[in-house]
């Protein structure tokens, strides 16, 4: 730190250093720092501890609350579920656990179909994103260095507008008297408007459009790191370009592919806004079911069970993908 200090502009860091030295010399400071160190609280522990504290407070605790609600019974009132713990008498604390919500999820075809449909929609969207995103990432990574930052900026540019606003904009484009239909009608290509809004097509379009940058960015990083001489070596050994792509480029960019697919697939499974705004009544996704259970039916326990089940459904692929990624990392250094 000291070595990097510029020789002329040394006044302010110098004063800061003086101040720090003075604070360090103080009794209470020394006492506190020795105590903290005794408990294992060093500066390093504090720096890594803060994010953990954040995750604990805002992810783990809410998760436990949702878990608690999911195993309680529904009731009319506020809150709309039975408490988990009740005093049966002055000394006896009763725990009432209700797994009926989960059994209900399993028995009712609606939920199963919604889960399957969510996985299918997310899966198809992920594949579409990969098919569109890979050539984009490849093109950007192989473009002239002076162009690269501009092209990357263009990929990220949509984030500057609200996500909700962009999805609404698609309604204006896709609806029966929207941009596309009006254009095609006026050109005489079609006689009556094509129904695009409130179809599965619109949902796929919305998801692919919204999540494409999450696919492109990790892919770009992976492709950009690829040593071009490896492709030359493959060509030199008699490998045609298409084959070299599948034998060399794809395996060596697998980390980017896995990361991109995770970033698209996982949020797409729980996606609510896009199917709600662009999808039809029959495009049933689990995010929408969740919303309806919570706000329309006020069935908090069932809704919580839906949320927990979705989490479990997603944890498994995440673990598998991380395994793959860990192995890939090990293979490259």
């Amino acid at each position: 730190m000291n070595r990097n200090r510029p020789a002329n502009g040394q006044s302010s860091p110098f004063i800061l250093a003086e101040l720090m030295a003075w604070i360090r010399a103080l009794g209470p400071y020394r006492w506190a720092s020795v105590r903290l160190r005794g408990w294992g609280m060093t500066g390093r522990a504090a720096v890594t501890g803060v994010p953990y504290l954040w995750l604990l407070l805002f992810f783990l605790v809410p998760f436990l609350i949702v878990l608690k609600i999911s195993i309680s019974d529904i009731r009319l009132g506020m809150p709309p579920y039975e408490p988990l713990l009740t005093w049966l008498s002055a000394q006896v604390l009763g725990i009432k656990v209700n797994f009926a919500n989960y059994a209900f999820l399993w028995e009712d075809a609606l939920y199963r179909n919604a889960y399957l449909n969510s996985l299918l929609t997310a899966g198809v969207s992920t594949v579409l994103c990969l098919l569109i995103g890979y050539p984009m990432a490849y093109g950007i990574a192989r473009s002239r260095p002076s162009w690269r930052n501009l092209l990357l900026l263009l990929v990220m540019l949509p984030f500057w507008t609200s996500f909700l606003l962009r999805v609404y904009a698609w309604i204006g484009i896709l609806k029966n008297n929207g941009l596309i239909n009006n254009l095609l009608l006026s050109m005489g290509v079609i006689d009556e408007p094509i129904v695009m809004l409130q179809t599965d097509f619109a949902v796929y379009l919305g998801i692919v459009y919204s999540y494409l940058p999450f696919m492109v960015l990790p892919l770009y990083t992976a492709v950009e790191k690829l040593d071009l001489s490896l492709l030359e070596a493959a060509a030199d050994l008699g490998c045609r370009p298409v084959r070299a792509f599948f034998r060399i480029t794809v395996p060596l960019t697998m980390t980017g592919i896995v990361a991109g697919c995770m970033l698209v697939f996982i949020p797409a499974v729980g996606e609510f806004v896009i199917p709600a705004l662009l999808g039809g009544p029959d495009s049933l996704m689990i995010g929408r079911v969740l919303w309806e259970e919570f706000f329309n039916n006020r069935a908090w326990p069932v809704a919580s069970a839906v949320a927990i089940a979705m989490l479990l459904l997603l944890v498994l692929p995440i673990i598998i993908l991380q395994r793959v990624q860990g192995r890939e990392m090990g293979a490259h250094r």
Binding site: E232, A233, A234, A235, D236, L237, G238, C239, P241, A331
Partner: protein, 381 residues
């Protein structure tokens, strides 16, 4: 510095009827306005180890990459074994290359790396296994077949890269700075190994290097490059003993260069008077230059004799001076001798007699330098 070749081999480049294996015809490569390779015409014969030698940015790697097919010449043509390959993509050329970075596939084992080229030819599995095993044995990497490249040392990677580029039995192997990543001991060892492999397999090698010692050891012939042009092609001996220009003389080894002018021009000898030397060179070979033209005389440091006594005979090929600097290198000593005009002359002498006793030449001592008339070389450019 002498060639490592044990005996005199055939010299196809001296035979006007011989057909070259690789022929470059007026090859030029431009990157924008920059001319990387400038009108190069070159013949390389079967079984040669041809070294392209030059400093960085002289175009040697670009020339090699054009032979491999990674770059297309702006103009000119490249012929390999009688076929025009100028527009042929690299994956169709009967050529393999060993990359400077080795370019081993990091996600494949040593065995898979070596087998890669054979797999592209859809050879039967058994043959692939046999040839890979044989090749790994040749480069002594059999016990590492299952390792990934990142688990190997630099020297081991180099051997895998060599095996991978040789396993397809190419008739022409291109090597881009093959030994640059190795330390000095390993490099010397590998140089001889390369020559052995080349002789065993009968492959034609084209080697790019910036290391003149490497070129001298490996090459049957050397092409010295400068600013995209080939300035001289010849055997290591030709290049060292008969440089054709000041650049070549200066680039290969160290040399004392004296400016002078011709005062006597006979078919079998010339005399050059040099103000820098403060004397006259008697050079035992003819020169094609105008009388009184400015020429340069190149004199290698090891060809100068240093003594306290004035040499016998007439007044040419000798000069008096004072020892200004001595460097003792163990096997030899370097003397820097200041002439009357102030010019420093570099002289190297092998330390035949054990040093440390008295009687050796020391600092500030007046000495005489002399050389044989066969030693200096006159260059006109």
């Amino acid at each position: 510095m002498a060639s490592a070749r044990p005996e005199q081999r055939s010299e196809p480049w001296k035979d006007p009827g011989a057909t070259p294996y690789v022929r470059l015809e007026k090859v030029t490569k431009k990157f924008g306005d920059f001319v990387a390779v400038d009108d190069v015409t070159l013949n390389i014969y079967r079984g040669e180890i041809f070294c392209l030698l030059g400093g960085s940015g002289c175009g040697k790697t670009t020339l090699l990459r054009m032979m491999a097919g990674f770059e297309t010449p702006t103009s000119g043509s490249i012929w390999i074994d009688g076929t025009d390959v100028t527009a042929m993509p690299p994956y169709e050329r009967p050529v393999n290359m060993m990359f400077q970075s080795y370019a081993l596939f990091p996600h494949m084992t040593v065995e898979q790396n070596v087998a890669f080229g054979l797999r592209q030819d859809k050879l039967p599995k058994r043959e692939i296994t046999e040839r890979v095993t044989e090749m790994l044995k040749l480069v002594r990497m059999s016990q590492f077949a299952g390792r990934k490249p990142h688990q190997l040392s630099g020297g081991q990677r180099q051997r895998v890269a060599l095996a991978r580029s040789l396993v397809k039995r190419p008739k022409l192997l291109l090597l881009d700075e093959p030994l640059a990543a190795l330390d000095k001991k390993l490099r010397e060892h590998t140089q001889f190994e390369l020559i052995n492999i080349q002789e065993t397999l009968g492959v034609t090698f084209v080697v790019v290097t910036h290391d003149q010692e490497e070129a001298m050891t490996l090459a049957s012939r050397i092409g010295v490059m400068n600013h995209g042009e080939i300035v001289q092609v010849g055997t290591p001996t030709d290049i060292y003993e008969y440089p054709s220009s000041r650049f070549v003389a200066d680039f290969i080894g160290s040399v004392n260069m004296f400016e002078g002018h011709l005062i006597e021009d006979e078919p079998d000898y010339v005399r050059v008077e040099s103000a820098e030397l403060g004397g006259v060179f008697h050079v035992g070979h003819g020169v094609s230059a105008a009388p009184n033209a400015t020429v340069w005389v190149a004199l290698r440091p090891e060809k100068i004799h240093i003594s306290r006594e004035r040499p016998e005979g007439d007044g040419d090929n000798r000069v008096a001076g004072v020892v200004a600097e001595i460097a003792y290198l163990g096997d030899q000593s370097i003397y820097l001798v200041r002439l009357a005009g102030g010019r420093l002359v570099r002289v190297t002498q092998p330390n035949i007699v054990r040093q440390g006793g008295g009687g050796r030449i020391s600092w500030e001592e007046p000495v005489w330098l002399s050389w044989d008339s066969s030693s200096p070389v006159v260059v006109t450019q």
